[in-house]
Amino acid sequence: MLTRGETIRAIAGGVSSLAGIALFAAAGVAALLATGLSQAASPLLDPYILGVLRFTLLQAVLSSALSVAVAVPLARAMARQPRFPGRIWILRLMGVPLGLPVIIGALGLIAVWGQHGWVNRLLVALGLDQPVSIYGLTGILLAHVFFNFPLATRLLLASLERLPGEYWLIASNLGMKPRTLFRLVEWPAMRSQIPAIAGLILMLAATSFTLVLLLGGGPAATTLEVAIYQALRFDFDPPRAVALALIQIGMTALILIVLQFFGGAASEGATLGRPPERPDGQTSAARLLDAGLILPATAFLLFPLAAVVIGGLQADLLRLIADPMLHRAVLTSLLIALPAGLLAVLLAYSISSARFALLSRKGQPMVFERMANLTSALASLILLVPPTVLGTGWFLIAGPANMDRLAPFLIAGINGLMAFPFVLRVIDPALTSHRERTLRLCASLGITGLNRWRQVDWPGLKTPLLTAFTFAAALSLGDLGVVALFGSDQLVTLPWLLYSRMGSYRTDDAAGLALILGLLCLFLMVLGTASRTPTERASP
């Protein structure tokens, strides 16, 4: 029921957005392939590359398995205790790693688990001289679990909370023991979600850059992403970077294909408004067991964050804030992050609008529906080309001479594309339901064009658009992966400044910078959620 002009404009917008994404990605990959083919001397699979590939997959599989293994009992404990003081704060805490710049999390983890961290100092005080090492595989796994088990827990918890409240009352009335209840009710509900969750974490861990850069090291603990960066920035060996990037594309393609087989995206979905009664969680045994899971998990999550705040406050913040270096870094970061966020939102909005325009033309040939489905498939294809790979391709295209001029644009562009799939997931459902609600009314009142945008679309979509924008901007603001490829003395973003301070062992400065970066990201996130109406905020 869009006017003909609106339909054409929406489809044209979506098509050009998709074409832009495809061209940008294809140019990067073509540059990789061209270099790879012209320099056949570098074998695709030498022992070094094989070792890196093996480690990448190993740590990804272990990270995914461990995160899920932690999340299953924890989600059950949280579901079984629907009412206790602080529960809502624990759930909010579990949302933090999603938006936390990875480099800050890493810094916090090092403060807690590092050589001179809280844990090791405690162990020494207890007379144990077996220090925990955060570097190498252990550290990478620890960090990946830190970042991913909260996500897995929230998704599994949602799958339990979607079960009808009567189940728990009936189970209790029938006298089902906790073990039976787990086997017959809780586990079947969680099991159906696990492949999608495990796959998502596998993908995130397989393309993780910052954590491996900071906590890995040496050929024994390097992933493809970090190996690409090292080949490009330290060994000045583009052919090797190309070989690694091609392997990376092959690996992510394989993972994506396998994920398609498991099908179904994990969703938080709608849960019951009122928390259910859980008589099975009210026995002392259950309470003790659940507390024994929830408290350590909360501490595991909270301590690194607390360490960042404490470390940051101990730094000479006044001197740092007065430092012109910081001013430039913050300005550079914002000049990259805000356009990146805008780009991600524009791409997602135009593609989502086109999808809706295609789908709403009822009675049209099937080809429209096919095209609409194709757009979402194409949109997720960008995941095939991780940022580092895309960056490597464009590194080759730009050439070292033009790097300083082009780098900010490339970083913003790649950051925007990185955020785009997530942003699309926020915007697409919101836009679809908004259009379905308003379309007929707008058509009958003849509200079109700019008027419709001002009167109907912007008020209705402000919240999801702003949430998506701030999320994408925060993601770009905290990103180290792309800027690590392009960064230079001329181009210093906040995470890059933080990374170089860590590298030169100016730990206090690094801690202070981490706090400042964290506050900036937090400010953006709060800005993105503050515009919600009171009714939306009321439901926890």
């Binding site: 009808p164 409240g165 009567e166 189940y167 009352l169 009936i170 209790s172 009335n173 029938l174 006298g175 089902m176 023991k177 039976t180 017959l184 009710v185 079947p188 009664e277 008589p279």
Partner: protein, 237 residues
């Protein structure tokens, strides 16, 4: 089996509840009242999902106030979701005999017999999702049958069914009650259900018992206003 609530008090979310009544054994008592008047809370107290702050709950004179829900002599049927959707009927009903599901031949036969009695013969391997709403409620009754508890708490068990089916299910309930002599407490918002099924009525208002009498006396009431409103909902005959 008589259910006695002795000065049972509970306050929850700023609302105070106070119940003192005797639910007489071997008959059907209806529990009515506006939403929020405390019907579900009263059920929860009897079933053991809520513990009273004061007072006692006795079954045939024995104090069960602190007993676990599974130890109480009651079975439950809710409006919906009485069956675990991913388990077949044999499992769902077998849980009523052995909550750990170790079913022998005798138990399996009991399940099949209960299914037949409720008109679901041969449905052992069906999943709840393949049944109609009425059939799912029948299966819930079948589970209550195999549990053989002397009291049955029904929380709007027919509310999701269409009128014809509701009358049919009401008849099944009357038959089963007469056959087993079970004490039934039936939560309902329909005066029609009260008239057809119940011998006695408890009417709640704001967490307290407003009326507690035989169905005949209840239906003849002209006041107070709340009960007149409730009875006014009756379809014209």
């Amino acid at each position: 089996m008589d259910i006695r609530l002795q000065k049972v008090e509970l306050s929850r979310a700023g609302k105070a509840f106070c119940f003192d009544t005797l639910i007489r054994g071997g008959m059907i008592t209806a529990l009515a009242g506006a939403s929020g008047s405390g019907k579900s809370t009263l059920m929860s107290l009897i079933a053991g999902f809520d513990r009273p702050q004061n007072g006692h709950i006795l079954f045939d004179g024995i104090d069960f106030t602190r007993a676990h829900p599974s130890e109480r002599p009651v079975s439950l049927v809710f409006q919906e979701n009485n069956l675990f959707a991913h388990l077949d009927l044999r499992t769902n009903i077998g849980l009523g005999i052995r909550p750990d599901l170790r079913l022998g031949t005798a138990e399996k036969a009991a399940v099949s017999h209960a299914l037949e009695r409720t008109g679901l013969g041969g449905f052992e391997n069906r999943l709840p999702g393949t049944l109609s709403g009425g059939e799912r409620q029948r299966a819930a009754f079948a589970r209550a049958l195999v549990r053989k508890r002397p009291c049955l708490l029904l929380d709007e068990p027919f509310a999701a069914l269409d009128p014809a089916l509701r009358i049919e299910m009401g008849r099944l309930l009357l038959d089963l009650q007469q056959e087993t002599g079970v004490t039934v407490l039936l939560v309902t918002h329909l005066p029609d259900d009260v008239e057809r099924l119940a011998s006695e009525v408890i009417f709640l208002k704001d967490g307290e018992i407003l009326a507690d009498e035989t169905t005949g006396a209840f239906l003849a009431r002209q006041e107070p206003q709340e009960i007149r409103n409730f009875l006014g909902n009756r379809p014209p005959r």
